[in-house]
Symmetry: C2
Subunit: 314 residues, 2 copies
């Protein structure tokens, strides 16, 4: 049986869909802080999907949930990067400490393999673009990035000390239906509040790799099937980027609103800890034979269209 | 005023000595779990040295201790790497969580600079030898190494998000008087118990860089004076290595014992999480104009001689 932490969340619920499609038995562990039961409601009548409402910070619950599990997909985390600057232990707890509890519960239950959702945020403002997996030194600038690097460190220590196998996926910005955070989500909510004006945080020049949640989940599963090192580290992204100003234009186009005034708050960053540019080298992913179905701009456009329907603009 | 966490410990107490020599006012924060009051007893009558007995896991105490501090030297940590394999949250708590509390107390008290004792353990079994600061991917194999990498991640996030300045020193194996752990310390205690036989964990081929505590402390202070980036990362070591079998010979020679049988337990590692070979590239350190006074073998010999006197063999 596969366990998906954060399985009721944005990316987690897409992963559950994909695993169910493969005929797997899936246990979901989620505290529903940002995950939603409705993201999994289409599995209500499927006996292969079990949902446990528990918090990863409660080690006893995690040890209990780990019983009968053979493979862990650890996706649970605080999804709101900006929150880290206000409540500084958010990412430490929901990132690094939660990962420790997952690993300790695996050790106690002798579960052998973990697949972990890390992030391009660990690279901070990398000097090398596009940034490859062996880039160093790794100097994250956000508390979210720090929690992901701290989690990677624990996972690699568990591989080296206790002999588990690990897959570390360093995600680009992942976008798609069921998104609950991020720039596209924010823009739609802003337009809903004021359909005449869209404020963009920063100068709009921030530029990042965007990957669809569907491509993200499929690339993760592709890697699990095609690599067998004791620890495998992969950048997951599309090999291109899209700027924030371009995203604002795409969201306005998809909104069908006319005469929206796009305004910039100015400055290089959207907020303290925001990385102005991330651009991942995904040669290692492509070498496994995986090809993303959407590039960054297509992923952004499809997501804008889906989220406008989900959120409702009018 | 400078704060030294772990200032009553092995390296910390040497740093306090050096800071006092420079005329600095020094506050020591130590929980005396492995630190010892006697390591600082020669400062008893010095009004420039204040000692606070508190635990870094008690955030309120750390915030309180941070008052009036302008510069933090963060050296406190669990010094017993092997313990991490038995009590798996030791390094997480005494490493990563303690570092979070130090950083949060700095933020609250608006303290601007941290100098952090990291470790070559973060590199795990690096493919590049000697290993330079920009080596990647960084995949520690011990829980101690993971806690140091998790701490580095938090520090760099504090630099990027809250604008502090940071110095990260990645230590080779540091040895010298007042050592309370490590291979030389262990060998002397084994000879004290049985002067006819010395058991070496592993095959003796483990090979690491050893630096004297005096050189370590002087190189740290040299870097603080000669670099001014927002974040500076330096390997601290001697640019050479010494094998465990050679260390066993040196300890036996310094013990003046004759007819000691050196026996090997066998295997590549001394214990799970032990890195068989570490060899740091210290070109960046040397380029600052700092020259270590002892190479690895000299540092080992001087330490063996000092610790034999401290511990007493007969």
């Amino acid at each position: 049986m596969d366990l998906v932490t954060g399985g009721a969340g944005f990316i987690g619920s897409h992963l559950v869909d994909a695993l169910v499609n493969e005929g797997k038995k899936v246990k979901v562990l989620d505290n529903f802080s940002s995950g939603r039961m409705e993201f999994l409601s289409h599995h209500d009548t499927n006996d292969n999907v079990e949902i446990i409402n528990a918090d990863l910070l409660d080690l006893v619950s995690v040890i209990d949930a780990m019983k009968g599990v053979e493979f862990v997909h650890h996706l649970a985390a605080n999804p709101d990067i900006r929150l880290g600057t206000q409540v500084t232990d958010t990412d430490l707890k929901q990132g690094t400490l939660a990962t420790y509890n997952v690993l300790e519960a695996m050790r106690i239950n002798e579960v052998g393999t973990i697949s972990f959702a890390s992030s391009s945020a660990i690279y901070g403002e990398a000097q090398q673009m596009p940034t490859s997996e062996d880039y160093g030194p790794i100097v994250p600038i956000s508390l979210y990035g720090a929690s992901k690097l701290g989690s990677e460190a624990l996972i690699s220590a568990w591989v080296g000390t206790f002999g588990i196998r690990a897959y570390i996926h360093r995600f680009a910005n992942i976008v798609g239906p069921r998104g609950t955070h991020g720039v596209i989500f924010d823009f739609i909510h802003k337009l809903k509040k004021d359909p005449t004006r869209l404020e963009v945080l920063g100068d709009g020049m921030q530029e990042k790799s965007y990957m669809s949640a569907e491509d993200c989940v499929q690339s993760m599963l592709h890697i699990l099937k095609n690599t067998s090192d004791s620890i495998s580290i992969f950048n997951l992204g599309t090999g291109d980027t899209c700027s924030v100003s371009r995203i604002s234009e795409i969201v306005v186009e998809e909104s069908k609103l006319s005469e929206v005034s796009i305004e910039y708050s100015g400055g290089k960053r959207g907020w303290a800890g925001d990385v102005p540019k991330t651009y991942l080298n995904v040669d290692k992913l492509l070498a496994t034979g995986f090809l993303p179905t959407s590039n960054s701009e297509e992923a952004v456009r499809n997501t804008a269209s889906s989220l406008i329907k989900e959120i409702g603009l009018f």
